[in-house]
């Protein structure tokens, strides 16, 4: 998928969007957006008024231009939505291409033979066999075998991944390609319900439902629209009372102009674009939100549960120091440790080999160079690994196991080293030759770069970070301190995670977490925002409400930021839209009532004093306000799609900043804006 972000206005997006803008004029579609629907009805009314004027031979220039600009207002709003949808659609199309017309080897369980069938005919529970070079026909779970799979169709990542039966890497996605080996898959999704289908649907916004905050905002906007309708409709009787000349000045065209300028067309026109763009921004970060609701909830999250391994620390521990026992040379310890780790393919083992080489220049020997060597692999019983070489028995392992191995007691300095390393958050590995303890290897969890700073910014925003780890209290505390998280849960079992989420939620917090294993599924479902890793099991992906295609747990942080940005954009544009009205009043009211109580018909009436902008004529003033109102929608489309600038600071300072820009800016900007348009309108002699 396209990870590169397209520039907001590119021609291949704009042209179709323009076409769609016209299709969206259909009132049945617009009905869902009350503000723009009212605008359309208004444009329709002025059109009728225009036809009537032309039929009676009246001056049609002014009503014609107003009518055109009102239709433009509706089209611009449609265009904003079409642009947002278009960006999603482009991504969805590329996805759709990847899964056209595949076939499957369906396994008949009774006979054990396979039959070639169309992928669309597969149902939940069917078994299929996929061999190297074939497309996986549907979402499923590997029940036999292991294979390397190219998942670039959904992740954009070309490096193959391993999928195997059992464990946490058993889920496969339809549309990905098997590169090697042969696997048997149980289909877990019916056609049309697969992960890819849902993804396409979401990106296209086909089944987009309004999110809770969007609904609440729509209600506010509708209420404002209704009350402005009342304002404008009641204006006519008030004008009739005031005098026939004022009443005559309030034509349908003028009244509709006032209405459209007052109702919040700016936010009304951009509202759905903002929502779609929010999901789109998630997609660009390679996160798939299962609903807009989830994106919005991400902005509300105030507790982040972060797994230590993979999220806070780089999955593997690294050896950073050799602590020799008294009377043992450090080099001697390093040599023994390296020997014991030669056949140890775990990251920890490899890091010991590397450290010995870097620090003491002890070359990593190849196994075949030591013909007499007997490698002792790690087993759950001994919990040690090592090597038997020329009569030496070198072992390394956790302190407890090695202590038992050497007869139940360590020399005091070794015990102390073990304690010290543990308290620093490290893992001590004790190395013994026979029953002589040589020393301790200090394995350290490496905290990912930049995290403490990030967590600090979260704290400023009022978000608490909690680290979850299976480590003991001491180790957990040390890493928590180093990473700068606010809290930690040590020796956590999956059910503890669940209990913690419940506890936080009961206290009114909204919790986000990441997970990949099947045992994470209940917690993912319970959390308000559950981000499942794409490498995880099907159960985990089903339970969460987002999937991270990159399987990078740190992404949770960006998810929260995007959620906040989405809400901020809505709030900022609403404020801007309402603040704009003040200036529009000062443009339109003096123009409408210019003739009220005038001493003579050719003299301006007293209310002309309200024409603070000094706009040319009554008609140019109204036209300029309508043009400004339409153009501002276009001008703000990039902001709506990109979102307002996000900063990780406290709510109060975000508010102060946004109020200054969008509140005060919204109040002041239209004054010069309308004035400039009015100058142009008059210079061109449009009215």
């Amino acid at each position: 998928m396209a990870t590169q972000s397209k520039s907001i206005f590119s021609a291949d997006l704009i042209v179709p969007a323009i076409k769609v803008s016209f299709v969206k004029l259909n009132p049945v579609h617009l009905w869902k957006n009350p503000v723009i629907f009212v605008t359309e009805v208004g444009a329709f009314l002025t059109t009728i008024d225009l036809i009537r004027t032309m039929a009676t031979g009246g001056a049609a220039s002014f009503p014609l231009q107003i009518t055109l600009w009102l239709w433009f207002t509706v089209l611009f709003a449609n265009f904003a939505e079409a642009m947002a949808e278009g960006r999603g659609k482009a991504q969805a199309d590329s996805l759709r291409r990847s899964r056209t017309k595949s076939v499957a080897n369906k396994l008949d369980t009774a006979s054990g033979t396979t039959k070639l069938v169309a992928a669309e005919s597969l149902r939940k529970g069917d078994l299929v066999v996929v061999t190297a070079g074939e497309l996986i026909p549907a979402d499923g779970e590997v029940i036999e075998g292991a294979a390397t799979v190219n998942e670039s169709a959904i992740t954009g990542e070309s490096a193959p991944v391993i999928r195997e039966a059992g464990g946490d890497r058993s889920a496969v996605t339809g549309g990905t390609t098997v590169l090697s080996d042969r696997i048997k898959i149980r289909v877990t999704a019916n056609p049309g319900e697969s992960f890819m289908d849902r993804m396409i649907g979401l990106i296209e916004g086909a089944k987009r439902q309004k999110t809770p905050n969007e609904i609440a905002l729509s209600i506010l906007l509708s209420a404002l629209t209704i009350v402005f309708l009342v304002v404008v409709i009641t204006l006519k009787p008030l004008a009739v009372y005031t005098g026939p000349d004022v009443s005559a000045a309030l034509t349908v065209t003028v009244l509709v102009s006032l209405l459209v300028c007052l109702i919040p067309t700016t936010i009304g026109g951009l509202l759905s674009a903002i929502g779609i763009a929010g999901i789109d921004r998630m997609v660009q970060k390679n996160v798939l939100a299962m609903s807009g609701r989830a994106v919005e909830a991400a902005g509300d999250v105030d507790v982040l549960l972060l797994d230590k391994t993979g999220t806070i620390t780089l999955g593997n521990r690294q050896a950073v120091e050799f602590v020799p026992a008294p009377g043992v040379d450090e080099r001697q310890l390093a040599d023994a440790a390296q020997l014991s780790s030669l056949a140890d393919e775990t990251p920890e083992g490899r890091s010991i080999v590397v450290l010995a080489k870097e620090k003491y220049g002890i070359r990593g020997r190849e196994v075949h160079e030591l013909p007499n060597a007997q490698f002792v692999p790690f087993t759950a019983q001994t919990r040690m690994s090592g090597i038997d070489l020329d009569g030496r028995q070198i072992r390394k392992g956790a302190a407890d196991s090695v202590r038992q191995h050497v007869g139940g007691k360590f020399p005091a300095p070794i015990e102390q080293s073990v304690m010290e390393i543990s308290s620093k958050g490290g893992t001590p590995l004790v190395v013994a030759d026979g029953d002589r303890v040589l020393g301790v290897v200090y394995l350290k969890d490496i905290v990912k770069g930049g995290l403490p700073d990030r967590f600090k910014r979260f704290r400023a925003m009022g978000i608490r970070t909690v680290m979850i780890t299976g480590d003991n209290q001491l180790t957990a505390a040390a890493i928590a301190r180093e990473a700068g998280v606010d809290d930690f849960l040590a020796q956590a079992k999956p059910e503890d995670k669940m209990a913690l989420i419940r506890k936080e939620q009961a206290a009114g917090h909204l919790v986000a977490m990441t997970g990949d294993g099947t045992n994470d599924a209940p917690a993912l479902a319970q959390a308000d925002v559950g981000v499942a890793m794409n490498t995880g099991t099907q159960a985990a992906k089903e339970a969460g409400n987002m999937v991270d295609l990159d399987s990078n747990p740190t992404k949770l942080i960006e998810v929260v930021e995007i959620g906040k940005q989405l809400l901020m954009t809505r709030g900022a544009l609403t404020t801007f839209s309402i603040a704009n009205d003040v200036a529009k009043y000062f443009a339109i009211i003096p123009a409408m009532f210019a003739v009220a109580y005038a001493a003579s018909p050719d003299q301006p009436g007293p209310l002309s004093a309200l024409n603070v902008m000094g706009l040319g004529t009554a008609q140019s003033a109204i036209l300029s306000a309508v043009i400004f109102n339409a153009l501002i929608i276009i001008a703000l489309i990039p902001l709506a799609l990109r979102g307002v600038r996000f900063r990780a600071v406290a709510a109060a300072s975000i508010l102060r900043r946004n109020l200054l820009i969008y509140g005060l800016g919204g109040l002041l900007l239209p004054f010069p804006g309308i004035k400039v348009i009015d100058l142009i309108v008059n210079a061109l002699g449009l009215v």
Binding site: T234, I463, H509
Partner: protein, 580 residues
């Protein structure tokens, strides 16, 4: 404004703020049911009343049940006031032998007093018997205010509680508010007012010889006048405290028997805002964060003080027309200068302007000067204060719950701007709350505009506009604004005691009262079931000066956007004409 005027304004605000805190704490204790030695005698009365009415004081009402109580009580109140007026000729305590009040006027007055509006289409001394004044009107002065306060308390409980549907007991809140807050305060105030010369008697009107005979336009000589009397002080005390405003006499507190001295004037205008200001602190105390209450009070003051000063300055400035007639507009030690038309010389400019803004900021509506005679912009200010939805202090209880509706809308817009689902006092503000808050805020606005439009279109509406053109327009707008926002303040010059206006304004008052009260209770019901979201750095703080400014901005923008066109055709154009 004279230094004296500034001083009086400062003194007024100082005393008001000084009293708000202890009164707020006391009212919170009353509604929380904190036992107190002082209220023990009252508790006996309370128990006795609950038993008599079959009320279980321990019952916790859901919002629908609470609303049902409010509505039933209002219906009974309406019927009682209506019937007493219709039958007053047959009832005792009617020394002047006043006839039954007409059907449409009784309808209007019954709604008016039941909704705490106290719009008066009638003239008190020539319409209402003493019994009607006391049993119908004064009783409503107490209980309609207590209903408003009860609804506010239910709303506060909605914010405070989590996971329950109970909002307290309407009957208990109603009884306690009346018994422990309104009655004692009115009793004290009435006594002080009597000491200042406000009348309190059951004797019939007195006819006395004039000191100096007067001659009417048609040459008749008048040598004696009738002095209207009656139990005025008791009604006036509660009329101010309960933000009712219905005067005992037609000219309300401009009448020397209703408001004789500067001290009585000070106490009355103080009483107008006293409970509303105190309730802000009650709010803070009851939601366990007194800063929240002060923030709302600050928002009210930020609107109130500049408008009061503005009104006083505009009145002090006078008009070119008065100057042209040779009136001395500059203040001196001998006379107040400025526009004194329709103002009492014993109150002067500053106190008339202060009263005018206080009475319209609060939904009181009593007057000590004729708003119709204010300068166009000076008169625009009281009118606009009503159009703001009676949330700047507003009615007893109703003002603050209206302000909380604005706070909810503010929190919603501002909350989105900080990137979170908005929350106020720890409760999430969602679609349902937005719907209800929108209705509560916009229903009275719509009623003002629609009502004005109807009045200006109908012959019935135009027939009794005595001032033609712009000023007549302003008068109609003022009357409908007053009724729709349950204020009750009136400008003369519009004959409102006609079947047309009695009906139109009656309906306006009902909408203004119940289309705000019911959504407020619905919000209380919805909030009470929500979880409490703990505050963090990510929460929008709602006690800061920034938030105060924001609430004020929303109140003003809503008020300005809704009424700018109408005001332009009324007071604004009148002002421009006057200055032209």
């Amino acid at each position: 404004m004279t230094p004296n005027g500034w001083f009086q304004l400062a003194l007024y605000l100082g005393v008001l703020l000084l009293l708000a805190r202890p009164l707020g704490v006391y009212m919170a204790a009353v509604y929380e049911g904190v036992p107190s030695r002082w209220r023990r005698p009252g508790e006996v009365v309370e128990r006795w009343m609950y038993r008599l009415c079959g009320v279980d004081p321990a019952e916790q009402m859901t919002w629908t049940r609470y609303a049902y109580g409010v509505l039933m009580f209002s219906v009974v109140s309406f019927l009682a006031v209506y019937l007493i007026q219709r039958c007053q000729a047959l009832l005792p305590l009617n020394p002047q032998q006043l006839a039954a009040v007409t059907a449409d006027s009784s309808f209007n007055t019954a709604i008016s007093f039941m909704t705490n509006t106290n719009w008066q289409g009638y003239g008190g001394e020539v319409t209402m018997s003493y019994l009607s004044q006391m049993l119908a009107l004064t009783v409503q002065n107490f209980v309609s205010a207590a209903v408003g306060m009860a609804v506010l308390v239910a709303l506060i409980r909605g914010f405070r509680q989590t996971g329950t549907t109970g909002l307290g007991n309407f009957w208990v809140d109603l009884t306690r508010g009346t018994l422990y807050i309104l009655l004692p305060l009115s009793f004290i105030l009435a006594l002080v007012l009597v000491s200042q010369g406000v009348v309190q008697t059951f004797s019939a009107y007195q006819t006395v010889p004039l000191m100096e005979a007067a001659t009417t336009a048609d040459g008749k000589t008048i040598t004696e006048q009738t002095l209207p009397l009656g139990p005025a002080a008791s009604q006036i005390a509660i009329k101010q405290l309960g933000t009712n405003g219905g005067g005992f006499y037609n000219v309300n507190s401009a009448h020397p028997f209703e408001n004789p001295t500067p001290l009585s004037n000070f106490l009355q205008v103080l009483s107008i805002l006293l409970i509303a200001a105190g309730l802000c602190h009650t709010f803070g105390v009851m939601v366990k964060d007194s800063r929240q209450g002060w923030a709302l009070l600050a928002a009210m003051l930020v609107v109130f003080v500049p408008l009061t000063v503005g009104c006083a300055l505009l009145e002090q400035q006078g008009t070119p027309q008065l100057a042209a007639l040779g009136a001395d507009l500059t203040a001196s030690n001998l006379h107040p200068g400025g526009n004194m038309e329709g103002k009492e010389t014993r109150f002067g400019i500053a106190n008339s302007a202060l009263w005018a803004t206080a009475t319209t900021a609060a939904s009181n509506g009593s007057v000590n000067a004729m708003h119709d005679s204010f300068t166009p912009l000076g008169g625009l200010i009281p009118m606009w204060l009503m159009q703001l939805g009676e949330v700047i202090f507003g009615g007893a209880g109703s003002g603050l719950y209206g302000m909380v509706m604005f706070a909810i809308v503010t929190v919603f817009i501002a909350g989105l701007m900080v990137g979170r689902t908005p929350e106020y006092l720890g409760k999430k503000i969602e679609a349902y709350e937005m719907k209800m808050a929108s209705i509560a805020i916009l229903a009275p606005c719509a009623m003002v505009l629609v009502g004005t439009a109807i009045a200006l279109m109908c012959t019935g509406g135009k027939a009794t506009i005595f001032n033609p053109a712009v000023h007549g327009f302003s008068e109609v707008l003022y009357a409908v604004s007053s009724a729709s926002n349950n204020n009750g303040s009136a400008v003369a010059g519009l004959g409102a005691n006609t079947p047309f206006y009695n009906t139109l304004l009656g309906v306006a008052m009902l909408i203004g009262r119940f289309l705000t009260m019911l959504p407020v209770l619905a919000i209380a019901g919805s909030l009470s079931q929500k979880k409490h979201v703990p505050a963090s750095a990510g929460t929008l703080p709602t006690h800061t000066p920034l938030f105060v400014v924001l609430v004020v901005a929303i109140v003003i923008i809503v008020g300005a956007l809704n009424f700018f066109p109408a005001l332009a055709l009324g007071p604004i154009v009148e002002h421009l004409q006057m200055r032209a």
